[in-house]
Amino acid sequence: MIPLSVRDIAKTFVMHLRGGLRLPVFSGLSFEVDRGECLVLGGPSGVGKSSILKMLYGNYGVDAGEILVAHRGGLIDLARALPREVIDIRRLSLGYVSQFLRAIPRVSAVDIVADPLIGSGIDRDEATARAEAALARLNLPRDLWTLPPATFSGGEQQRVNIARGFISDHPILLLDEPTASLDAANRAVVVDMIEEKKAAGVALIGIFHDEDVRDRVASRVVDVSRYSARGVR
C-alpha cells in the first residue's frame, strides 16, 4: 500500500476581505510517495510548496481531488475526513515538522518534544527520556531543556521543533524547510535523522531550500510549478 498519494488536487483561496479576490494555487496536482523515499517538492519560491504540505496535513482544505493516506490498515481520504479522523491520522500515521515552532506558554522544551509520544500512549518517563535524547542529539544546551522555548533563538526553536517532529514513529513525515535556520553541524544531524527515517521505511515529503541538503536526502524531486495555477513567476 502506498503510504501517501495525492490525486488531482485543486486549491483556490477566496479573500472575502478583499472583495472576493480569487487566488488559485494549484490544479491537477498529483504525486505519490513510497516507503523509504524522500520526495522533495521543487520549484521556485512563492509557487506554493508550503501550501501543499499544509493541505497534506489538513490545515488547508482542498476544493477537489483526493489525499489518500495509509492509516490503520486501510486508505483514508484526508481531504474528506472528519476532524476526529484527521486528529487520529496525525496521532498515528502522519507527522509534520513546520517551519516555525508554535510555542505553548509555560510548557518546557522537553515537554513539547515528549508531547506527541505521550499522546500516542507512551509512558511519561520513557517519553521524557526519549525527548532529552533527541534534544541532546540536536545539541540544544541542557540548561534550556526545562525552559519554555518562547524566548529561544530561531535556530534553538527550530531544533525543538525538529526533535518533536522526528520523535514519533509516524510512517509518513512532512518536512517544511527543517534546516533553514541551522548551522552546518546541526544540518548534518538533521540529514542523518532523515536518512534514518528512510532506512526505517518512513515516507518523507520535504521542502529544502538548501541545495546541499536537498541533494543529499532527495530520492526524487517533483517540480510542482507545472501544477501551479498561477504559472511560474
Partner: protein
C-alpha cells in the same frame, strides 16, 4: 475511537421573543473531543451552551446524551431530578466568573468535597484526601484548604472552580469563557493546566470563547457562530489557517497572531 458520539445535537433552536438566540444547530461530540464555539458577543454561543447544558430550555430540537451505562437519553425528556444529578456528577460547568460556580462562603476543601458528597461519598478522611489531591492538581497549596475562595486571587478561584468540577470524574464539561477577565500570565497558566487535564482525563469539552488563541490551544474542532447560526465548522487548524466564510476571515484577521 469509539463508535458513538457522547452528545448528539439536532436542529436546536432558542428564541427570545422575536430575537433569535440560536437556530439550526446540529453536531455530534465524541468522547475525548474538545469543541470550541467562537463568535462575537451576541452571536448566540452562550445561549447554545445554556441549552446544551439544560440550564435553558430550547424551543425545539433534540440533545441526546450517551449515559455512563450506555443508554442514550434525550435531555428534554429527562426529569428535573435526573438532570440535576447529571449536572452534579457526570457533567461539569465552568463559569466565566468563578463566583457563579463556587460557594464563596465555604472553604476551598468544602467546595471540592461537596461534589463528592453529592455522589454519595460520606467518609470524611477520604473526601479531604481527594480534595487535597485535587487542590494539588490545580496548583493550589495544601495549606489553603481551609481558606474561603474570597481570599483567593481570580486565577486561583478559577482553578478551584475547575477542581470542584472535575473531582467527580465528569465525562462532559461545559466551559463559558473560562479564561475571560484574567491577566495574560494567569491565563497562560490556566490554559496549560486545562490542556493537561483534558488530555489526561480524556474529557469531552464544549468551550465557549471569543479568544481564538484559546480555541487554538485547547480545541480539536471549532464552530463559528454569527447571529445565532453556525456559519463554519471544522478542524481547528483548518478553520484558523484556511477560513472560508467572510465572517471567519474577518475574525481570524482581526487578531494579532493566532
Amino acid at each position: 475511537m469509539t463508535d458513538a458520539p457522547i452528545l448528539e445535537v439536532r436542529d436546536l433552536a432558542k428564541a427570545y421573543g422575536a430575537r433569535i438566540g440560536c437556530v439550526d444547530i446540529s453536531f455530534d461530540l465524541w468522547a475525548g473531543e474538545v469543541l470550541a464555539v467562537v463568535g462575537e458577543s451576541g452571536s448566540g454561543k452562550t445561549t447554545l451552551l445554556s441549552c446544551l447544558s439544560t440550564r435553558l430550555a430550547a424551543d425545539r430540537g433534540s440533545v441526546v446524551y450517551a449515559m455512563r451505562d450506555g443508554s442514550r437519553r434525550d435531555l428534554s425528556t429527562m426529569r428535573e431530578a435526573e438532570r440535576r444529578f447529571l449536572m452534579r456528577t457526570d457533567w461539569g460547568f465552568v463559569h466565566q466568573n468563578p463566583a457563579d460556580g463556587l460557594r464563596m462562603g465555604v472553604s476551598a476543601g468544602a467546595n471540592v468535597g461537596e461534589r463528592l458528597m453529592a455522589v454519595g461519598d460520606r467518609h470524611y478522611g477520604h473526601i479531604r484526601g481527594t480534595a487535597l489531591d485535587w487542590l494539588d492538581r490545580v496548583e493550589i497549596d495544601a495549606d489553603r484548604i481551609d481558606d474561603r475562595p474570597r481570599a483567593f486571587s481570580g486565577g486561583m478561584r478559577q482553578r478551584l472552580q475547575i477542581a470542584r468540577n472535575l473531582v467527580t470524574s465528569p465525562r462532559l464539561v461545559f466551559m463559558d469563557e473560562p479564561t475571560g477577565g484574567l491577566d495574560v500570565s494567569v491565563q497562560a497558566r490556566l490554559l496549560d493546566l486545562m490542556r493537561g487535564l483534558v488530555r489526561d482525563l480524556g474529557l469531552s469539552v464544549i468551550i465557549v470563547t471569543h479568544d481564538l488563541a484559546v480555541a487554538r490551544l485547547l480545541s480539536h474542532r471549532i464552530m463559528v457562530m454569527k447571529e445565532g447560526r453556525v456559519i463554519e465548522h471544522g478542524l481547528t487548524d483548518r478553520v484558523l489557517d484556511d477560513p472560508r466564510e467572510p465572517y471567519t476571515q474577518l475574525l481570524v484577521s482581526s487578531i494579532p497572531q493566532a
